[in-house]
Symmetry: C2
Subunit: 86 residues, 2 copies
């Protein structure tokens, strides 16, 4: 029997030690526009992967982990996290 199709959400962001000029620009734009209460803004990327149901959950976790680590993330400056939902 095939597994239920799952969705994987992969979030890629710059490492804390890496400057994020894009985030800084958004932050100062928001401040100038009058939005209150912000201390820092950082921008990242977000991928939504729909699986075709041919993998079991552990297989899917391994495959998404490989995709995130090997393709979607630049390990020198970025880090990722992902979640898998049925």
């Amino acid at each position: 029997m095939l597994a239920t199709p799952m969705k994987a959400y992969v979030y890629v962001s710059l490492k804390k030690s890496v400057l994020d000029p894009q985030g800084k620009t958004i932050h100062s734009a928001l401040k100038k526009m009058g939005y209150r209460g912000l201390e820092e803004v950082r921008q990242g990327k977000y991928f939504e992967l729909t699986l075709d149901g041919g993998l079991t959950r552990p297989e899917a976790e391994a495959e998404i982990g490989r995709i995130a680590r090997e393709v979607l993330t630049n390990p020198v400056i970025e880090e990722f996290r992902f979640s898998l939902e049925e």
Copy 2:
């Protein structure tokens, strides 16, 4: 007393009805590289906003909602969701 500093995570993605050529490109690249089990890939943006602790939780929710709706999202083609963590 000031509220505890919170973090807001805003996820912006293309509406389902909008074509995502970038996601399609990533999808076919992953297929060619031999990754299995994917049906669709869509890419979005992700913002991490650190709050300065000067807003209560309801105020922060309202402010982050306004920022996401009015600035971070193009309502014609995009939609957003956000979460707020202590």
